[in-house]
């Protein structure tokens, strides 16, 4: 049997193949170029259509949640409040301690897996519809269009020298942008400082230094990212754009140009017969490029810059309608469906593939684990710290006593009573007050004395357990520690 031919993967400068040697090619064809280029401003043309409506629905939904949530009340307090100073995190009925950080980890893992799943099924849904970068850019673009006009008007104005009109429109635009940005910064801080108090302080100009800093910082980030950075954030700063291709396969729904149908492209009259002209459906109107928020040409195929917003699909459909052609020259479909001409049902059937099933099952498992963990969570926590100064002491008639410090953390919003007991050695009992009261959402350290009858155990270290019952809210915790018996 012949051994398989070893595959050589050449990394070679292109002209080398022709010239034959590397040395020969270098300097002949090569030219020094800068690896930096000045940024060219993109003027996305406004668009309406199915995907645009979806995006706006998501803009409204996400921003209603973001701007509205801090104003919701829950009992006597803000429904969602992350009190960093007191280290208590309130999410509706839930009071979380820093010790509950695992839930944030769980939430982040769920978010990451959801991102993987959505991306594998339908491409960059997050980028196109829910990412704050997209959402705020959309809002800022809307303001820009209202004040300065659409793409062509904006380009004309920017090309001309200053004028009163220029000053007035730019001023208005930036004023509105800054208002939105400041409101966004204010709302952001409202998650960490009670928002009503913050509003009052803002009106009285008595914000604390940190509140003011974060309002301005987050506001500035919004203003800069949505007003100026825009697609550069996606193209040069966002890691997701660079690794999303790892989640893509040929059955992933993406915004695709139907090359077979569109090419050869070219301008033509509405009445012209395509067969005679030997032209494809693409009229080469370049609207798909004009509406693109990242400034790419979708007709060149899938590119990492594409955030999957579907603006090109929307605008192409309107052109196809005008021309009287079938819609969908640029459409939301999979590579396989496009090349094999699958129907919608066939395409959907390919959603169920191993990658998707793996993502879904892992995601489902973690969601279930998180929900179970949250529902089984006891509304208090206990830390047991053995006293460091006193290892053991003999009290009364030879009874052995150890001292512990227990931190009881009340994760409810009412005062609670806890009953302490110990197990692990015969006759082991708590000799200090077994009932401990802790105020709402507070934590409290108590010194606890545990006694063992004389000669109740061999000298040395013995594992014991503190059993803590919440008398009011219910729930039970068991914490490990050790009991030391001294040498006689």
């Amino acid at each position: 049997m012949m051994p398989p031919e070893r595959k050589v993967i050449p990394i070679r400068p292109e002209p080398m193949a022709a010239a034959g040697t590397c040395e020969g090619a270098r300097g002949v064809d090569g030219e020094m170029i800068s690896l930096y280029a000045s940024h060219e401003k993109i003027y996305p043309r406004s668009v309406s259509g199915l995907f645009s409506r979806w995006r706006w629905a998501m803009v409204v939904l996400t921003q209603l949640v973001f701007y509205g949530l801090p104003w919701l009340e829950w009992g006597q307090r803000q429904a969602v409040l992350f009190d960093l100073g007191a280290r208590r995190f309130y999410i509706f009925g839930l009071v979380l301690y820093p010790q509950d950080f695992i839930y944030l980890t769980g939430l982040l893992v769920i978010s990451a897996l959801s991102l993987f799943l959505f991306t594998a099924v339908a491409g960059r849904l997050w980028c196109g519809y829910a990412c704050p970068q997209t959402v705020y850019t959309e809002i800022f673009l809307w303001i820009e269009k209202r004040v300065e006009g659409d793409r062509s008007a904006r380009m004309r104005r920017d090309a001309k020298p200053w004028s009163a009109d220029w000053l007035w429109r730019k001023g208005t635009k930036h004023g509105l942008w800054l208002a939105v940005a400041l409101w966004t910064g204010f709302t952001f801080v409202g998650y960490f400082t009670p928002v009503r108090e913050l509003a009052r302080e803002s009106l009285q100009l008595s914000l604390s230094a940190w509140e003011l800093f974060w309002t301005l910082f987050y506001g500035f980030a919004t203003y800069g990212n949505a007003g100026f950075m825009r697609e550069q954030v996606c193209k040069h700063m966002c890691p997701y754009a660079r690794f999303q291709s790892a989640m893509f396969d040929r059955d992933t729904l993406i915004v695709t140009y139907d090359q077979a149908r569109g090419e050869p492209r070219g301008a033509r009259s509405r009445k012209a017969d395509l067969a005679v002209l030997n032209l494809g459906a693409c009229v080469d109107c370049s609207l798909c490029v004009q509406v693109c928020p990242t400034g790419i040409d979708i007709r060149r195929g899938l590119q990492y810059e594409c955030i999957g917003c579907g603006a090109c699909a929307d605008v192409c459909d309107t052109v196809m309608d005008k021309m009287g052609y079938a819609r969908g020259l640029v459409k939301y479909t999979t590579e396989n469906a496009m090349s094999r001409g699958w129907t919608r049902a066939q395409t959907l059937r390919h959603v169920l593939r191993p990658r998707i099933l793996v993502y879904t099952s892992v995601l489902g498992a973690i969601v279930v684990a998180m929900l179970v963990s949250l529902s089984l969570r006891t509304p208090f926590k206990v830390d047991v710290v053995r006293d460091r100064g006193i290892t053991a002491r003999i009290v009364g008639a030879g009874r052995i006593e150890n001292v512990y410090r227990l931190q009881l953390m009340n994760a409810t919003e009412s005062a609670q009573q806890y009953k302490l007991s110990v197990t692990g050695l015969p006759g082991l009992a708590i000799s200090s007050e077994p009932l401990v009261a802790v105020d709402a959402t507070q934590s409290r350290w108590v010194a606890v004395r545990v006694q063992l009858p004389p000669e109740g155990a061999m000298p040395g270290s013995h594992p014991i357990r503190f059993e803590i019952d919440s008398l009011d809210a219910g729930g039970h915790l068991s914490e490990r520690s050790v009991f030391l018996v001294p040498q006689p």
């Binding site: 292109e14 002209p15 020094m32 690896l35 930096y36 280029a37 040069h236 100064g389 002491r393 010194a447």
Partner: protein, 305 residues
Amino acid sequence: MSDFTSNFWPVFVTVVTLVSIVACLLLLWFTGKARAMTASDNTTGHVWDGDLREMNNPLPRWWAWLFVLTVIFALIYLALYPGLGNYAGTLGWTSTGQHQAELDKGNAEVAPLYAKFTAMAPEAVAADPQAMAIGERLFMNNCAQCHGSDARGSKGIPNLTDTDWLHGGAPATIKETLVKGRMGNMPPMAAAVGSPEDVRNVAQYVLSLSGSPHDSLKAALGKPKFAVCAACHGADGKGNLALGAPNLTDDIWLHGYGEAAILAMVNNGKVNQMPAQADKLTEAQIHVLASYVWGFSNKGVAATK
């Protein structure tokens, strides 16, 4: 003051730092350009797997300026703060200075609080929940290491929650203990007491003082020998606060219970020290702490005052 062991290191650090910064700029400059093979199709000319070509995808120029900005930041930082060898920086910042400033700020913040407590009688301070919260923290940081976090002590370390005081439990006495510390000295008394048999008899007598199980015959024999002990512990064995001689009649055994422990004490004596806290704590802190400790054995009293 220099933290360097020789004059070589500050120069070394300065040179390495500045050369690194300049090297960063040079690196930025030289990597900013590349020899592209085919500029016409906007690829770099690199081909993988036969057909995979690398696009020339330039970063925006402001990105390069961000790098330059970090270099400028570094230079300004090094001018303001100590970073270049022995150079102290124009701001004159030091970590000890910052620590001291934070300490001063913290002390200034609590000063009115302490002033309020210092003006109050210890009994009143012990009834003030805020003062007691401060007292608890002071106790945990300074006293609990020996006396335990429940203040009940251990062998050789007195229990602070009972009414048995070696030197007296009045707030002023507790304060004195904290400020000056205490030195408890039980000299070896075996020779003064007499024969080993006499010492054993005295031990039985001491046990009898607190009503502990004892040999009454030996105790009766030991009673006359107790006279040498009475110099400090008193004829009735109730101790002497002025000398720090413990009460032997209250069944509290700081250094161990039983004949063996008493024999060891009489034969070997014991020196036991409570270290002075005056250098560690301020006067106001000692006032609060003394009130806190007084509160242990005077819970009811503090509450009613």
